[in-house]
Subunit: 483 residues, 2 copies
């Protein structure tokens, strides 16, 4: 109650915001604000004083200055596709939401420097398309690319299906511009591959989920478009065989392995059911499959030969049980569609316990087997939907409700226990309880269990140095300090 | 005088250090300390209370705790190969130097996860050799690899000749361990390629030149060893032609371009003179040359074919004037030796104005031409030794004294003016005044000219949050705060 009492009257806030960004760029009615205060999964329903849609960095700066002066909390928002409740305000109604969707211009593409300068509100697919128009690749590849924004991708250090080759979002940016909690503008929109002039401040803001500053622009790295792509859908003997096959793929192809995605049998069954008319790439069902993608700058013939060499080596060693090699672009797209639709298939089915864990690659196979066994010991009818970026040591480990159990009941019975179990097992293997999805509010308090007190204290030291009034995306990421 | 008065008596400090690390691990006589208080170039001659050689992270932590409690400044030191005076104490004699050379163990190599866990005192060549023993590549490649240490490589975000393909040191590390100014240990020695659980704290310490913590250990990324390498020494029409040729190389080979190093005629002449018995790779002298290295996971034949394709395209477009392709490993080594010995050749000759600048690749050719013209307008007899990592937009731009002018005289006359001129030109092109070498004390005060007040203030906010007593490597990197 006290926080609300201190905050300015919503009318005052609205008028101040309107004076900065214009009336049309302020949303204040409940209906208008609803899409901006409810998270992507429909779990978090927050409130805001006003949703502001600034058109420039200068406007963001002015909004922040006003909010800082008036002690108003601010929630920065991109495409609002966070799975962790990281992009929506809490229920107090004290916050101003700043959504960057109007800052959606590609400012420059430099094909010699292989860089692209964008405003933070450009969608990922917008950035990819702009790069393609100049025969370049912007390699980040995640499911929400049509709506997620570059600023959000940076703030959450987005990952996806091409990290094995190109790295996470953090690795794909050379410079950023960000507005600090007090409205000052940190601007380093430079396309330099080497710059050792003091602390590399951009890393403070990348992956900080909007708690240290609002990223308003970025210089992104562009890559050569691959000249050829080779894709195979491969049944493997076991998760351990998949890891061995990845080793062979790396050994035989150097850095051509772009994606190496695990798919469990229940994941494949679920997505085939969901898609209906899409045939399985392989004639028989197997317990474990991997989708392998190689890309290279050389000709397709030699890349296909490399893929065949990898598969033959895998057959020879008993790692591979069967394999379908994409003979056309359409084959490849079908293989990828199966992989990519697993997430939506789960959402539609309901009742999935989403764990997004990573462990060292040398431990991932044992982890998948052990964690599956433990979950099945609790609920033998759970469907073990396990898939994702095995090449990065990262799997989406999502036990799904038994066919005959309602989602709500399954989640009420098992969510906390199973996700706690899986996270603890990953942690015990020196792993991460959130490989890609971040912390937001969902996993904030779990950090006290999985981070050392030194780490949590360091995070707070940085937070207080940059945001002493704790106004920027409050309640996200940082757990309560230990005493 | 006041600082010295506050500091404990050197005898007290020595005894405290001896109690922590043992008598044999403390050096205190002037002669014994001399190699640790004088920088690599012999320019900075500092003083210390004692040089401590801890054997474990725990010992580093205890030393730091004692120094923190007693307000004693600490200078962390690896191989002491800084070109910027970043690793030696100032002249007050107040500091304790902590050299990590005894912490030189490779703790683990995981060939499935492709990671290597090392103590910070392992030399770069030690790390490379250990990786090679397991058929892996640790790709950082810099001249001082025999003596520089991983901790120093991380603290300075080292670059070198393979950044184009593999990135800077920051890109080659997954986890670090560091001792904080008050002695607490931040430990994240994990080999995860994806981990989005809060702020990525390791980036605070990487590139901070030991001002925020002492890096004591790291988990490094390993790469597949390339199956083939192709090297060419190529005369190009101009710096602009070199950039165009790089574009062709990227287009035709994807990410196989590992090194793309520019060499100016005066640089080649100097090094050939210095080496004596090494023949020039090309029959005639040219104004501009590039050393190109491609590496790949595929066979040598197809990689050589790609190299030939690049060179033919370059000839066809008039970019390439002549080219020597290495026909053997020994040819390749000779080409590389010429490139690598330029630095020593300069040191022995004396009188070189070292500028380590980067600009966007799209501006590097014009920058090299314009800056050369400006320097030659001032001193027409200067030898324009320009070389280095053009593929990263980074050149070592090092005007050398005229043959008949003594080094001291040339430097006295021109150092400040020419380096100021070159740095300002790079800055005007959105470039960096220190692409690789860092800031140390040499360029500390230049930052006030080349960084915004927001950046400098942010650096100080972080510094004060982590090191409120300003005890860790004081006087390095951070310029005086603006008021």
């Amino acid at each position: 109650m006290q926080a609300e009492a201190q905050a300015p009257n919503p009318e005052t806030t609205l008028r101040a915001m309107q004076a900065i960004v214009g009336e049309n760029a302020c949303l204040s009615g409940d209906a208008d604000m609803q899409p901006f205060v409810t998270d992507y999964r429909g779990i978090y329903h927050g409130k805001a004083q006003v949703v502001v849609l600034p058109a420039s960095t200068e406007e963001v700066s002015q909004v922040m200055q006003w909010c800082y002066a008036n002690h108003v909390p601010v929630v920065p928002q991109g495409g609002n596709t966070s799975l962790m409740g990281g992009a929506v305000p809490d229920g107090t109604g004290a916050a101003v939401v700043i959504n960057l969707r109007r800052m959606n211009r590609v400012l420059a593409i430099d094909t010699v420097n292989d860089t692209m300068t964008v405003q933070a509100g450009v969608t990922l697919s917008g950035a990819r398309t702009a790069a393609e128009a100049d025969q370049r690749l912007f390699p980040l590849r995640i499911g929400s690319e049509g709506s997620c924004q570059i600023g959000g991708n940076l703030s959450t250090n987005a990952g996806g299906t091409a990290v094995l080759r190109y790295g996470n979002m953090r690795d794909l940016v050379l410079g950023i511009e960000a507005v600090l909690p007090d409205g000052r503008i940190y601007s380093q929109l430079r396309g330099l591959r080497k710059d050792n002039t003091g602390y590399d401040l951009k890393h403070l803001f990348i992956g900080a989920e909007g708690t240290l500053g609002i990223i308003t622009g970025a210089v992104l790295k562009l890559m050569p478009q691959p000249r050829s792509t080779a894709v195979a859908f491969v049944a493997v003997q076991s998760p351990a065989a998949a890891v061995q096959l990845l080793g062979e793929a790396k050994r035989l192809s150097g850095q051509a392995v772009t994606a190496f995605e695990l798919i469990s049998r229940p994941a494949l069954e679920l997505v085939l059911e969901y898609l209906g008319n899409v045939p399985s790439p392989l004639p028989e069902m197997h317990d474990w499959m991997v989708l392998i993608e190689l890309t290279s700058g050389t000709d397709a013939e030699s890349l296909n030969a490399t893929l065949m060499e990898i598969l033959e080596s895998g057959f020879g060693q008993g790692l591979v049980l069967d394999a379908a090699v994409a003979a056309s672009l359409s084959d490849a797209q079908n293989f990828w569609r199966i992989r990519e639709e697993i997430s939506d298939a789960q959402t539609r089915t309901g009742g999935s316990i989403k764990c997004d864990v990573s462990v060292p690659l040398s431990r991932i196979a044992a982890f998948v087997e052990d964690a599956s066994a433990k979950v099945l010991a609790l609920e033998p009818a759970a469907r073990m939907v396990i898939y994702g970026h095995m090449g990065d040591g990262n799997v989406h480990f999502n036990p799904l409700r038994p066919r005959d159990q309602p989602a709500k009941e399954f989640l009420a019975q098992w969510y906390a226990r199973i996700s706690g179990l899986v996270d603890a097992m990953a942690h015990a293997e020196n792993g991460s309880i959130s490989a890609e999805h971040g912390i937001g509010v969902v996993k904030r308090d779990d950090l006290t269990q999985f981070k050392s007190s030194v780490e949590i204290e360091l995070m707070w030291q940085v937070k207080q140095a940059l945001d002493p009034r704790n106004l920027l995306n409050p309640g996200k990421v940082l757990p309560a300090r230990r005493r």
